[in-house]
Structures are given as structure tokens and as C-alpha cells.
Symmetry: C2
Subunit: 498 residues, 2 copies
Amino acid sequence: MSFAQLYIGAGNGFSSLTTRNHSPYSWMFCKAITGVVLAISGYVVLTQLWYAAYPEEIAATLPEDVNWGARQPESLKDDGIRPFTITTSPAVIEHLKFRLNHTKFPHAPLKGVSFEYGFNIDYLKKVRSYWLNSYDWSARLKFLNSLPHFKTIVSGLDIHFIHAKPAASAKNLKVIPILLIHGWPGSIREFYELIPQLITPRKNVDYVFEVVAHPAGFGYSEAAAYSGLATAQIGVIFKKLMNKLGYEKFYVSGGNWGFKIGRDMAIAYPENVLGFHSTMCMDMHLAPVPVVWTAVHVWIGSFIPGFAVAKEDEHRLYPLRDYANWLWTETGYLHLQATKPDTIGTALLDSPIGLAAYLMDKFSSLTNPANRKLPDGGLTKKFTLDALLDNVMIYWTTDSILTAVRLYSEYLSNDYIKLKFDAAPVKVPTACARFPHELVYSPDFRVNRKFKNLVRISKYNDGGLYAAFEEPKIVANDIWTSIPLFLKARQNASSGSS
Amino acid sequence: MSFAQLYIGAGNGFSSLTTRNHSPYSWMFCKAITGVVLAISGYVVLTQLWYAAYPEEIAATLPEDVNWGARQPESLKDDGIRPFTITTSPAVIEHLKFRLNHTKFPHAPLKGVSFEYGFNIDYLKKVRSYWLNSYDWSARLKFLNSLPHFKTIVSGLDIHFIHAKPAASAKNLKVIPILLIHGWPGSIREFYELIPQLITPRKNVDYVFEVVAHPAGFGYSEAAAYSGLATAQIGVIFKKLMNKLGYEKFYVSGGNWGFKIGRDMAIAYPENVLGFHSTMCMDMHLAPVPVVWTAVHVWIGSFIPGFAVAKEDEHRLYPLRDYANWLWTETGYLHLQATKPDTIGTALLDSPIGLAAYLMDKFSSLTNPANRKLPDGGLTKKFTLDALLDNVMIYWTTDSILTAVRLYSEYLSNDYIKLKFDAAPVKVPTACARFPHELVYSPDFRVNRKFKNLVRISKYNDGGLYAAFEEPKIVANDIWTSIPLFLKARQNASSGSS
């Protein structure tokens, strides 16, 4: 039976089910529907065959003995793990207050505009006033130091981390090491509400977490002196850090850059990463087959959304014009940082109010696009000004904005793309917590293809790029729920291979 | 004769011209070539027909009585034309020096990196040192005030301009009024080398220029209080300004935003704009027909460059991957400014070194992409540090960076796109001076389609986005050469219509 016969036959069959005295229009309609269904089915079968024939991409193996720092190797003798306390000199705070007091505010927002042109100037004046008059840095320092900080040298760089151990009440429980990784423009501050929920035992659960939260090479960690430190290379440093702390095997969780770094660790170290939990699951494979495949799916989905996305995700992609507008509107910082990190970094290093506006802008629109229409950018719906300013202060007092934004340039470079971490599959057990206002949206069919051992996709009603900071309870619960699934997936795999 | 017969027949005809004993391969090759030629010809004929059937776009007519300023109309009584002198208070300069002396420079460039990550930090330290120790603002003020400045209220805004009259030696010559318009991140400073060449009589030429150089709503001109002041609306203000100065008819010249504003004036006021001269001719019409037409042309050109571009322009488009990389690398500022002008503006308002790096970055890479590889960004190949810092000082002392970058947001808005200035043809006589390092490249075939009365396309070997600043002699000569052609085109048009 030829394809044409099949087409006509299916049309006949369908029409005979409806009515014998069909009008010419219903007949044409019936044939059209049948044709579309067959075309789509054919397309799906063809792309599956195409994909099956497509060789699996293999990510590069990275050397582990690179010295990224400016110092000579002889000065890098192993100094062990040093406790660290966040401190700032009074001069830094005095200078900050002087600079804030002399901020230039020569303009008003355009009439009737909230955050549609970026950070609202009237609200920025309120932020400055709060920063100068109500924000208490010494109290905040106490808070930030309430978790135990450490430093140690890895790959020639002095790397900072928080190491939070389980509460004393957890004596007889199994302790599970988990590495939390944040992104930009966040900091370790994003995890301060999440960590206590992970290290406190839960009823009827026989384990508890020991958390290493790492600042992704930002903040109190030393910056690279050489170009090329992208997410995969940071992953090498983090894996070496975990090994140095005595964890041969561990879990990883992160969103934003934490997703990319964690994903690269999961690809590079499947024996070490027991499970990968992320609040930003996506597939960034941009080769022709997945791009065309996705484009056709998404295009068909613009007529039949269910073909491309689950019901609850329709608003993420459709109307496509809105999604394209959103991406254009919210990725200017990414574009500039990927191409001119030292230019924008120089400006932000030198202006505290500029830094605050630039960073807090992201905590407004990337938690909810509707925040653009609010006079305060919706900033205090999820956060306190104290929390947001803690984050700004971590960048300001460490002078780390310029070195942090270089990561965009390293990641979006041909050198990194050639390593194929975007292209290679993730085979370790993975759990995806998906939030509706995530910046970039990968439909589930692509997530399923990237993560070959997906133990769970959970979808939530609110939250965006900074899920752990916005919704610490939800993210904590998601992590707790994922561990047994990770264990089961590992058991299945080992019993399957035995 | 069917298309298939034509195809086979042409193949036969061509083969009989070559050899009777052709091999099967040469026969297939011959057929393939003939097929390609026929397909391309068919495409060209079809798109020409398609274009011919496509209705001409008509730009919106804009109201001329809009009040863009914050002040009440009653305070806006006509104050005539007021002479203006650039002055700054000592406090502003003291504050600047204090800020520069306290610049934070905590980092070095990455090892072996020049301007590839943006403005080089080592070179920025040299710029700061020059600014603090060698740059003499009082001498520069004298220089900036050496041309006659004025202000006047138009459309509710206090508008600044330079009005340079011909030298005394030009007594018996015909005086030609020309409006020069600059763009971002330039200022009136871009025209200081050009203007003297326009107001000085030339041998055997019976005319000389009277120049009105206008700062496009930047610098010393008041900023709008309401959203929506895009290029077409600025064009309304400039036309009213020229009328107020007594010029019913005049010429316009500009690159960068000066191109877009001048183009919109030429479209809106064909009776007033006698001729439009630009160093940045392009066609931004993004509707499906021109986009597909251009895409196919450019795609064919990637095999046969001559199909899409003239020989001397091949390097502008091909390899296409290089052009796409260049656009991505150099348009981050545009993307951010179009979407978050108030966020980036706030940071740059508050940091002189950040402002200098951000603005001068553009004068490095947008004059020549090869400058990225030079330790000084090639900045002093075309400019002096004095000239570049004059430009930075105009933004810094007027606090105008934030309001200036809002123009990107206004131009790249749906409201502006709906006005159809990007889509409508320019019918007034136009002269295009094309420079090889212009940021965005429109092939000649598109320029020819946008400008229906193109009197001249001249191509030069060096220069980029700031042609008038980089190559004032070439641009002056180009303007002098264009005037007789404009006059001739006008005469032909009027004799043709009479």
C-alpha cells in the first residue's frame, strides 16, 4: 500500500464512520484532517529515526591539573581547609556611604512608566535611602556569618564555600552530601533560607543533608587570571573541591549557572555525581537536527499547543511572539556580558547605585515578567530589601562584578561550544523542578531527550530564575523528595547491569 | 513551451556549443548549471513581480504640536534664539577629579587579552591618568566654544544647536543651509573637524555652507519627559527648528542616529529636505517580502558573491558566519539600551570611568573590528584622547547618558515600527557615502530599493560608524560633491513634472 493509498484509505475509513450523506465540505475537511494527522505522524516517525541514526555526542575530557590563578605554583602549596569569616574594613563601608550620598539622580522616570525602561528611578531613590538609613551591615554580617564559611586552594584559585553540617539532633541519620551552586547575579545569599531546611532532620526520614554551597567563582572566591574558565572547567574545580572535602560521591543542585555547572559535572563525572537536581532544566543543544526538530514541534504547537507542550506550559511558549519579545526584552544583560564583560564590569565596579540597579533589575523581571508594570518592580513580593542588598553587598565589597560577568563570555565562546557539553546527554539520575517564570524555556520533550535518566519533573505555579531564593520551602521539599528516586534509579541501574 | 522543456532545451543548446562527444558527467554538469541559472532567473523575475505587486508603504503623518517637556505650556512662551556658552561649575570638575582619583581598579585584564573582553583595563588606567593629569578642561571649553552655540524652545524642549556661518571671505557666494545630525555615543564634538571644511569657500565653487549641527536630543538639549520620542518625532522637532531659524528648505546629513533621523525627515518632509546625505545608508524594512528577498540573495551570494554584493563589498557579508559573529559581538550595548535604558543609564551616570570605558569601547571596535586585538583598542589611530574625552565630558557634565540611551528603546518599539518609517521609501535626492566598517551592512540592492532617488553611492577604503569624526575631509568632499547632483536631480524632477 503506497502512502497515497494509505492517505485515501484513511480518509474513506474516517468518513464512513461519520455519515453516508456527507457534504463535499465535510469530505474535504475529513481528508484535510487525515492528511495533517498522517503528515505529523510521518514527521514524528522520521525525526525519531533521524535521531536514532544520529550519533550520541560525547563531551570532551578536561584536564584536572590546570592552574587558573596568577600566582606561581610554588606558592600554591596545599593549605588545607581554612575557616573563613566575612569581614569588611570600615573604610570600604565609609567609601560606600560617601558614594551613595553623592549619587547623581538628575532625572525622573518617564511619565507613567514603572519598570518598563529598566529600574525605576523613583524606586531606586527609595532603595538608596533604605541602604543608607535602615540597612545595618554589621547585623547583616552577623547573619551572613551564621553559616560556617571556609576557603581552600583548588586549581590555583582560593575557593570559598559554605559547609553547613546537620543539626546535632541528626546523630543517627545517614548524612547526604549535596553541593549547591548558584548563578548570576546571585550569590551564596540565595541559599540562606534553603540550607536550614536541608540540614534539619524530617519526620520518618532516615537521612539529612550536609550542604556545601559554592559561589561559582564569584564573591569571596578568587577569579581566574586566564581566559577559558567556563562552566565545565568550573565543574572540574568543584569536583576537586568535593573530593578534597572527602566526598568521593555526592549530589549536586542548582539553577541558573548552577544548572549549567551542575549539568557539566553530571556529564563529566557520572561516577561521582549521584544525582543532579535542578530548578532550570533545559536542553541547549543547537545542532541542526535538534533545532529543526524543535522548530517544527513548536511551530505545529502554535496551532495545536498540546503537540509541543503540556497544558500547564502553554503560556510559556504561546503566543510565540510574546515569548520572543520576553527573551529579547530580558537578555540584553546576557548579550552585553557575553561580548563586553570588562566594559560593563568596569562601570558596575565603580558605582554602588549602578550595581544595585543592574543586579536588582534581574530580581524584578526574572521572577515574574508582570513585575515590569509595578512601581516597585515587585521586588518585595518575594524578597526583603535586606536580602537583596545583602546580595549587592557581596558583589560590592568583594569587587567581583567584573570577574563574575566574564563567565558569560567564556560560556558563549566557540572554545566552550566545541567541548560539546551542550550537546552531550546527561546520564546520571536527574530531577527537574520547573518554575513558570524561568528565563529560557525548553519544552519537556527536549528535557526528556537531554536527561536520559529523568526521575522526576515537578511543575510549580510561581517562581522564576532564582527559585531557591524565591521559594526555599518548595525547592527544599523537591530535593527531599528527589533523593529516594535518585537512589532507586541507581539501584535499578546497578541491578540491571549485574 | 513548458518550464521543463525550456530547461531541457537550454541544456541541449549549451551542450551543443561545447563538444559533440561529451562525457555523461559534463552533460550532467551542464544540465545542473543550466538548472541553477534558470532557477535563479526565475526567482529574480518572481520577486520583482512580487515587489511590483507589493503596495508602497506610507509612513504616518506626525502631529507637530506635541509638548514633550515637563514644563507647563504657559512657561514655554517663545523665547527666540538665545546664544549659549558651554560652562561647567568648578564643583562638577572637582567632583569628577575626586571620583576619578577614587576609581576602583581591583583587577587586571585576563592574560594575553587586549580589547577582546571589552575595554582593556590596563589601557583604561592610562586613559584615567591622561584625563586627570593632561586633559585640560578649560582649554577644551575654549575649543568647544569656538563654534557659536544657541538654544531655543521647540515642542516644549530647550533645544541646543551650533550655528556656524560661512567665513567672511564667502560674501558673494550662495549660502546653502545644512543640518548635521550625530548619533550615540557621539556628540556635537564629532563635527568640529568637519564644520570648518563646510563653511570655508572652495575654488571654482559658487556656494558655501551654513551649518546647523544638532545634538539629537542629547548633551545640552533638554530630554523628553514622556515616552515615545523616537527618530521620526525628533525629526519633527528638527524640522521645526530649521523653520524657526528661517530655513524653509535645507539639506540634511548624518550617520548613525543621524541617518535614521535624517531619513525620517526626508520621508516626512520631502518638500523641505532638498537632499539627504548620509554616511550610513541602509534599508531596515523587515516585512516578509524584503526579508525573504534579501535572505535568498544573500544566500545565493554565499556561493556567488557577485550576485548579492559588489566586489569591494564582499568582505562586508562573507563569510556570513563572520558577519553574524561581528553583529553579535558589537550589538550588546544596543540590545541592553533598547530594553533597559534606565538601568544601564543609572550606572553610567554615576561613574566617570565607567562612562569613558562604555563610550570609548564603541569608538574602538566600531571604527575597525581589528582594533579588538590592539592593546590600546586602536583608539588613537583616528582620534586624539582629547577629542575622545571631549565627547565623554559632554555626556558627563550634562548628565545626559541615561536620557540619550532611551532613544534605543523608543526606536525599537512597536509604536515606532507601526509608523512605517523603516518601511516607506525615501524619495528626496539622496547621496550615500559608504564606509567599510559600518556596523550594519545593507547590500546596495537594498539601498537602491529604499532610496528611490539615489544620486550617488561612494565607497571608501577606511572608516566606520563615526565617519564624519574619523574622516572629516572625505565626508566634507562627499558633501561638496553631492550638492550639484542633488540640484540636478531636483531640476530633472521639476522639469519632468512640468
